[in-house]
Symmetry: C3
Subunit: 405 residues, 3 copies
């Protein structure tokens, strides 16, 4: 079946250039996908249950969709998002879908539109554009397909030719879903990624319970910084044994700074005593990035750094609906000085690979491409998040390739 | 009559894309204009006198033109700009015009050139390009047209299909010109915009007289912060009664921060005593933006924010010729943290609209588009000032549409 | 002979635009070259010896080439770069060349590739693309040509139609090579540029010996700031007598700030005593930029400013191989406030010309173009270093021309 989308919709309009683009695309379009950074829940592949309905699959679970609709004055509650206090949400999935369809014109020119159009017309093969008029028919058609075997998670995994999918998992996660996937005998490769952010947030009220969970899963008492490092090292071994090939670190600033041993031990004791400040946490985090790089040179896990997001900027939305509801906003981010210690210690080490992302595009040509075009250990992550779009990827290429190769 | 300018001069050169651009332009080119932020003096519509001459209309009053010529070593005095000390300026308008025409080639590739070309060839229908050779003939032809009824301010207002024109007016302005326009019976809609910057500049030597003027027009004594807020509220009501739909705020930094009541009262008393510092002014201004947002939720005026300009960078030019002579220079500007308090207090409020502009394009994709793509109250102003140009508008679209919609 | 490179390789693919580009290029392609900022050693024109071999000419001496290969894990030692400690390097030039040729595919899409392709196919007229397979034949063909008279430095200088080539020289350099060029009777114009950075680095361990060298070449004792200024003034006169038309200043921050006379005298005494700190050096440098501008108004040397590079970011590479090995990384750079004092003192002075460069492209449209579009003395340098590339020059034009003209 032919899609209603223009086959060349992402290519340059100049005919000569378009021909070359098409030729390149045809030569790579069928390659398998390697997905190094996903937020998919591994349990969907363990159970392989059908996806519940079009609205929860496409609308309520996509923070790009939610943020845009919310910014146009549409309340979260009417989009199938439940407040954390348990207030019941009336919206049934079909209502949410209709609301989405009626407002779908708002997404013109956005990457969300490009993705959802692809999903609607290439994956679900809908014959008509989504709008208020076609909402119900689309809902029914998608629902019917979701119920079929071809649209179950594993079938889609195969259809998309996914060679490997890396999820993102807290350091204390027992990785039960990954174990269930493996135990099921299914051959799809779904691997965890080690994300220890919570363990380094020593000023957070949740830190204490995270450390207790760490002590539990590591089977050790954590009364000193050395014991903490040992437990972290052990968790990295556990993740590696479950297939992990990388760690991931979400930090507000990419500052890296080694603290003297006694200072970091004191900080850790302060944290155990529940009196660590925001400044303590920043120092501790800057030091821990160096410890993580050190461990990577030992266990070979690739280190990924995602800095520069002010999380939960909108306290009202966060308090009512929780994190990841579209209210994380980028910050100016400095790399040349902040990464200096880490790159000087490990940037020339052939055992080490660091992948750095940015939400601050002004750093592409100024800092990141020059750094990646010099340090053997450093690689640039692709255009991230808001910049994972046609224009964003174009800027990424224009501003990094010449200097970083 | 056909213009000597290429009809497609602002469109993409690729033929297919150009056809689409032309089609889109034809579908909107005749729409009426809504001009939300003008620096036109309303009195020209009250009197409807002819514009005096080509040089004062097109050269001496345009800070974009003056700055470029000044940067090439041409003294302000020879361009019809009078020093503030009253030294008489010899240049007669025809001399200024000749100087402009001889140097018109300097404007190649600038938005000023695009605008002046439009004025010369589309509005005044000159048949030859402006240069030293054609200067006198152009001067004569434009002068003759300016004397005719078709080129009076009101006639041009109608010819340009202006539906509404908003001026920018100090908070203590009695709006006499607006009243005169209304009293004249002419139907053109020229409305004021409430700009209270001077009232918040508590460290300025002019602040005391501004406050006295406020007290006079508000008919009240201003001895406390509460009385000040009341007077401001009353002026907003007055502006609203004269047709205003918006406020406008020019600030160096867009910092918003609520002060405790006693702190702001103390600051205000310090200001009345004439001892407020630059730091006090910054704190007071950051607080007043929250008060302005609060009042907007009550009276419905849209709030506009124009931050990030270092005013009067060139003290020599400022001391000799006064403000707005091309020596305002942009600064790095931060929005994510600075607007945090204001957006948290009012960003989810359906009664509130905030329009934010920037001179720091690096904030488009990093901060402004993500903020506008989340907070219901926030809208982005179009490409401003230096960026109100073909390339600037292109960057604006490329860097905001995908994320802000 | 026809090159294997596409004649239109740098032009827009749209046929109409390409025709115009070709026409413009043909009208200027044969103009002589004026090279205001070169890092060529003048002595090669004094001796006019043949270049030694392809590897040392094209690979080992080019920090753009070295950085890219190093970033891919290829050790400097295998590229003909000798450690500073004198450890002998085994690599003979042919081995280095083979290594370069085998990895030449890594340079796809980089300006280095554009330049080396030009050198290989337009200058040396190689008929086949460089790769592992063609490495030896290319080496032999280039070697043979280098031995011929047509490929000696002076012959290439003439072939490239270089009208003038400005080198960059330390303030205490006796300019012996420039004198030798002049004495040789050859007519090529190779002039020095006055670069006094080392003299202003009062916290550097090398400063003391630099000052002693200055005292020697200036023939004076330097025991006070006034004597220092006199010696600097005298060196500027010497450089001018050898043909210099400009000075050049590499600074981390472009801060300009005048110190009170007693403060700067105290700082200088502290420097002579060997106790100046990094902060002292920053203050001293900020002051010296004003002194340099002042001297430029007196002796007419154009002042060039190259700010914003964190030199020798990689201490391992610096310690082992010395400076200029690809480990200088750009920093965020602020101009509006930092240049304020200098522009206010000298920016309106018709005797003064300041050319400012940047590695921080976000400053183009925000700060540099607005400043250059106002101050008569200020000119923008072209896209510099990492940005001296097709994409970089395109951004430069798009982001500065509209505002700076």
């Amino acid at each position: 079946m032919t899609s209603i989308l223009h086959a060349d919709r992402f290519f340059d309009p100049e005919p000569g250039t378009r021909l070359i683009a098409r030729e390149i695309y045809e030569s790579v379009g069928d390659l398998p996908l390697i997905c190094p950074h996903g937020h998919v829940d591994a349990s969907i592949f363990a159970s392989d249950e059908p996806f519940p309905d079009p609205a929860s699959l496409i609308v309520s679970s996509d923070h790009y969709i939610l943020r845009m609709l919310y910014s146009q004055g549409i309340p979260m509650e009417t989009l199938g998002v439940s407040p954390r206090d348990g207030t019941p949400v009336a919206a049934d999935p079909r209502d949410t879908w209709r609301r989405f369809a009626s407002n779908y014109f708002l997404f013109r020119g956005t990457p969300s539109r490009a993705w959802v159009d692809h999903v609607l017309h290439e994956i679900f093969e809908l014959a008509r554009p989504l709008s208020a008029d076609t909402a119900d028919a689309a809902y029914d058609e998608i629902s019917e397909k979701l119920a079929s075997r071809e649209f179950r998670p594993r079938a889609l995994f195969d259809r998309f030719r996914i060679e490997v999918l890396a999820t993102t998992d807290g350091a204390t996660d027992p990785l039960a879903s990954h174990e269930a996937v493996r135990a099921s005998g299914w051959q799809g490769r779904v691997i965890p990624t080690f994300r220890p952010d919570a363990l380094f947030s020593i000023a957070s009220s949740a830190w204490r319970s995270d450390i207790e969970r760490l002590a539990r899963v590591a089977g050790s008492d954590i009364r000193s910084f050395e014991a903490f490092l040992d437990a972290v090292r052990q968790r990295r071994r556990f993740f590696t044994s479950r297939g992990a090939t990388a760690t991931d670190h979400g930090v507000e600033s990419p500052l890296t700074r080694r603290l003297p041993p006694t200072t970091v031990q004191d900080l850790f004791r302060k944290a155990l005593g529940g009196t660590a400040t925001a400044h303590d946490q920043a120092c501790f985090g800057a030091h821990m990035l160096l410890e993580m790089a050190q461990m990577s040179t030992e266990d070979g896990l690739v280190m990924q750094l995602h800095p520069g997001s002010a999380r939960n900027h909108n306290r009202f939305v966060h308090d009512r609906f929780g994190p990841d509801k579209g209210a994380d906003i980028p910050l100016q981010t400095e790399y040349t000085r902040n990464l200096s210690e880490l790159l000087n210690e490990f940037g020339n080490d052939p055992r080490f690979s660091l992948i750095v992302f940015t939400l601050d595009e002004s750093a592409y040509s100024r800092e990141l491409a020059p750094l990646a075009g010099h340090y053997p250990a450093l690689r640039l992550g692709p255009a991230w998040w808001f910049h994972d779009s046609i224009e964003g990827m174009t800027r990424y290429r224009e501003q990094t390739t010449e200097t970083a190769g």
